[in-house]
Symmetry: C2
Subunit: 274 residues, 2 copies
């Protein structure tokens, strides 16, 4: 039984709203937590964003996102690191439970998955001291294998977890997103193995057929193929006690009124996890 | 060094051609082997198809495909089994090295990956006696995780291999398709573990961005993200000594003249694997 008291609205689900509107929506809908995106935070400014969430009393379950570490040019890698250091600082200011990391695809001009993975490991190692200093927890997310080439070479929870395990648990964990990992026959074992490392948990459904733009192919909980009750039981059994984000990227949902989207999010969460 | 003497043209790469035309193309282009599809075999008739390939002297590296075992209704499961028994008989008549199995997605109306996997295991167990009798080798193929819901719940080489290992090696193996498994950080280990079980090896490239129809998103070797030399070295090091199929499903390629497609297939194979 997971109650609505653990629901967090990821801002990407209502990406038509700015930060102020998203906060307002959560307050109106009595959703206690929010997952934020950096471009919306930047729009309002980090100080005002941090003040706004503090005034609202909302919990911040995540800041999305850092990462994209895999670049051929040292200058580009340095720029990525600088941007990620800024993201760590933003996550600290927002008191977010985790800074979500989408690590990056193949290095341009190469087909070397190992090279990309090593670059990601080095970049996270370089981020860790500052994250520790500011008590920010990095959350490494595995993306669906269909994003391997261009967005994230970490394609299984096992990949993200094996990387996280190289660093202290309070500084580096994993973010588990159902849409990205539901298909993996080993995911239950990896969830159990992730005990103490689960920095975030995000929900959206896999719908068939996959919409034309595969970045926007996610569905409301219950509209697709994922068994959210079973999956969530596994995540909770592994000790995760944080807020559970609903993060749905879908143009049709963005075109709907945000209040209607929030109502559907709450209803499905209560029905499928409650 | 892999020579063109090991190249096999999968019929799906030139799907605009019928069986007779495909055979003619291979002879003209001096491609020594062909991978066949059942609907094209049915079009000509199984006896005439078998006679045609025998007359041609071409090797038949695979027959595509059996599978789709996951059905809620017992009648539908029985019909699938009957169709697969027919496919075994066709593979025997064609002297194909393997009958490729695409096992099926979630059972309609369920979200139970375990149920689908058990159904597949049972169906293959039911096929094995007839396959043994006719000396046909079943080749279980893992499909890309983006096809998990609707086409194949076996999404990693590890899944296909673990299933194959339940049965005798000369009757059940795995088909390794680069497009489906290239992203998996464990695939090298699983290829090594598949020694003695590799019933088929198919090549096509992962291109970015993924074309609109994800079933037709494959590219010519070298146009995408996959390191074919490294991958093929691993497959050969695991003892695979059969023909290597190029199987590219792509509307643009189907719209091109078949002789041009065959020339590109040969040139890229020689360049990237030779």
């Amino acid at each position: 039984m997971i109650g609505l008291s653990r629901l967090s609205m990821n801002q990407a689900t209502v990406s038509q709203l700015n930060l102020t509107q998203t906060i307002q929506l959560c307050l109106e809908q009595e959703i206690p937590s929010v997952g934020l995106w950096r471009h919306r935070v930047a729009e309002l400014g980090i100080s005002e964003s941090a003040a706004a969430v503090r005034r609202s009393g909302l919990h911040v379950s995540s800041l999305c996102r850092g990462g994209f570490f895999t670049h051929a040019e040292p200058d580009a890698r340095r720029a990525a690191l600088a941007d990620n250091l800024a993201a760590v600082q933003e996550a600290a200011a927002l008191q977010a439970d985790t800074l979500v990391l989408v690590s990056g695809g193949l290095v341009a001009g190469t087909r070397d998955l190992g090279l990309a993975r090593r670059m990601i490991t080095d970049a996270i190692a370089a981020l860790v001291p500052r994250a520790r200093e500011l008590s920010v927890r990095l959350g490494i997310e595995a993306l669906h294998p269909m994003f391997c080439a261009d967005r994230c070479v970490l394609t299984r929870l096992a990949d993200a977890l094996d990387l996280a395990l190289l660093f202290p648990a309070d500084t580096v964990g994993v973010v588990i997103d159902t849409y990205n990992v539901w298909w993996d026959s080993q995911v239950a074992a990896d969830i159990a193995r992730a005990r103490g490392r689960i920095a975030g948990y995000q929900l959206s459904d896999w719908v068939v057929p996959l919409p034309r733009d595969m970045l926007l192919g996610r569905g409301h909980l219950g509209d697709g193929s994922i068994d959210f009750r079973l999956f969530s039981q596994q995540v909770l059994a592994a000790g995760f006690d944080g807020f559970i984000e609903v993060e749905i990227m879908n143009q049709d949902i963005w075109d709907a009124p945000a209040s209607q989207t929030a109502a559907t999010v709450k209803a499905r969460f209560a029905e499928l996890l409650g």
